[in-house]
């Protein structure tokens, strides 16, 4: 059965993940913004991250932002 694999981040490992992708300092300083709505991304409101056309796309936990991220954020 061909599966669509979703890569998941544990809610307590968000900081570790951002360190591994070298975006931790931006997360802590408030420089990361939701690509959809522009809200500042924090450890608590972060929902999803991906890459499209060479750009990092990041999404907050707003449902509308998440829907748009899933539909358009990545292919």
């Amino acid at each position: 059965m061909k599966e669509e694999i979703i890569q998941a981040i544990h809610h307590d490992e968000v900081e570790q993940f951002f360190k591994s992708i070298d975006l931790y300092s931006q997360l802590v300083s408030g420089d990361l913004k939701c690509t959809i709505c522009g809200n500042i991304i924090t450890k608590d409101n972060f929902r999803a991250i991906g890459k499209k056309s060479g750009e990092i796309i990041i999404c907050c936990n707003n449902e509308g932002c998440y829907n748009q991220f899933i539909k358009e954020g990545v292919e």
């Binding site: 544990h10 968000v14 890459k51 509308g64 829907n67 899933i70």
Partner: protein
């Protein structure tokens, strides 16, 4: 309870040894059936990890519980969705990001990661991933042709159907309160489309006809440059199905929809009087007319006659025989091929729940 009675009967008649052996055999069969079904296996693994998680509070058990539970439940529900012969959306698998301290990683093009909530918010996790799976694996090839409010409405109804088959009211309640209702209320266009999609869904035509036809449409236009008429064809299909769904008793409406790439015709078998007194002639003539218009897909929709059975079992039997004759005549036609048949429950024009059957036929024409 029946199994326990059976075991008890064996013990009474043949002794405790035989009863014990029978119990072991039954448990082994149950265990084997669970192992053969990977979704059931995942659900059982989730239950075990959930227990381990509560006793040990170890993160690895929480991860294994969350991923197995989501995978088992979503994939089991997915198998129960009917999209004709295909299974949509795709099955879901979850891989946890495991980064050791100091390890670096570069996100690849097209890759994405989702943060999942704690195990006590599993409803949220299931809805989050159901949404991701539906939106990533449905409407493939035609999503860019469909305006966003219509996309939202189709996606919401697909997720709703998926969660419905999970049979968990808490998850459905969470979905409706946190996702479905806010999205419908926040956007007027989404609300407008959703009114139509919901009506089509209530009549049992959403999964069996709309989604099937959209999938066929995407195959037909694959490789073609997107054109405005393609958007019109999709929206026209929805309007056609909506008119059929809301038609009043005896109201005459178009039963065929023929455009550049979509050509479907309905053959509703609903009027008891008509078929009992006139037989199948008119239905055969209707099919011939549809073929003159080169309809390439025929949907025969038959409503069950439960009230007729109570009133006159003979008439009900006659009705069933005539419907069988009609199906046989269609089957014998050299150009018509049965694609699938699906029995379901829907709401009819009078608001009554009815059993119905939808049969999809493909019609082939010589070029």
């Amino acid at each position: 309870m029946e199994i326990l009675s059976f075991i008890w009967g064996l013990i009474k008649n043949y002794g405790i040894d035989v009863g014990f052996i029978a119990l072991i055999i039954l448990i082994s069969i149950k265990f084997f059936l669970i192992l053969m079904d990977e979704n059931k296996t995942a659900i059982w693994r989730a239950k075990i990890y959930k227990s381990l998680m509560y006793f040990s509070e170890k993160r690895e058990y929480e991860k294994k519980y969350v991923s197995n539970d989501i995978r088992g439940r979503l994939n089991q529900a997915r198998v129960k969705l009917n999209f004709g012969k295909d299974l949509l959306p795709k099955a879901v698998g979850i891989e946890w990001v495991e980064n050791a301290e100091g390890e670096t990683y570069t996100i690849k093009e097209g890759e994405f990661f989702v943060k999942l909530d704690p195990a006590n918010c599993q409803e949220n996790n299931i809805v989050t991933l159901a949404t991701a799976i539906v939106e990533r694996t449905s409407l493939v090839g035609i999503r860019n042709l469909i305006e966003k409010p219509l996309q939202n409405s189709i996606d919401l109804n697909l997720v709703k159907e998926l969660l419905d088959r999970m049979g968990n009211e808490r998850i459905k309640d969470w979905f409706f309160s946190e996702k479905y209702d806010p999205e419908i209320k926040n956007d007027e266009k989404t609300n407008e489309w959703n009114t139509k999609i919901s009506e089509i869904n209530e009549k049992g035509l959403f999964l069996r006809i709309l989604i099937v036809e959209l999938k066929e449409f995407s195959k037909k236009i694959k490789g073609l440059e997107p054109r405005p008429y393609m958007k019109g064809e999709i929206e026209g299909l929805i309007e056609f199905l909506y008119k059929y769904a809301i038609r009043k008793y005896e109201e005459r409406i178009p039963l065929d929809y023929r455009k550049a790439h979509i050509g479907i015709g309905f053959l509703p078998v609903a009027k008891t009087d008509k078929i009992l007194h006139e037989g199948i002639e008119k239905y055969i003539k209707a099919i011939a007319i549809k073929m003159e218009y080169e309809i390439d897909t025929l949907y025969m929709i038959v409503f069950d006659k439960e009230m007729l059975a109570e009133f006159s079992p003979e008439a009900k039997q006659r009705f069933d025989e005539i419907v069988n004759n009609l199906e046989t005549s269609i089957k014998e036609h050299p150009q018509i091929f049965k694609d699938f048949e699906d029995k379901y429950i829907c709401v009819d024009q009078f608001g009554n729940r009815r059993h119905a059957k939808c049969i999809r036929y493909r019609i082939k024409y010589e070029n």
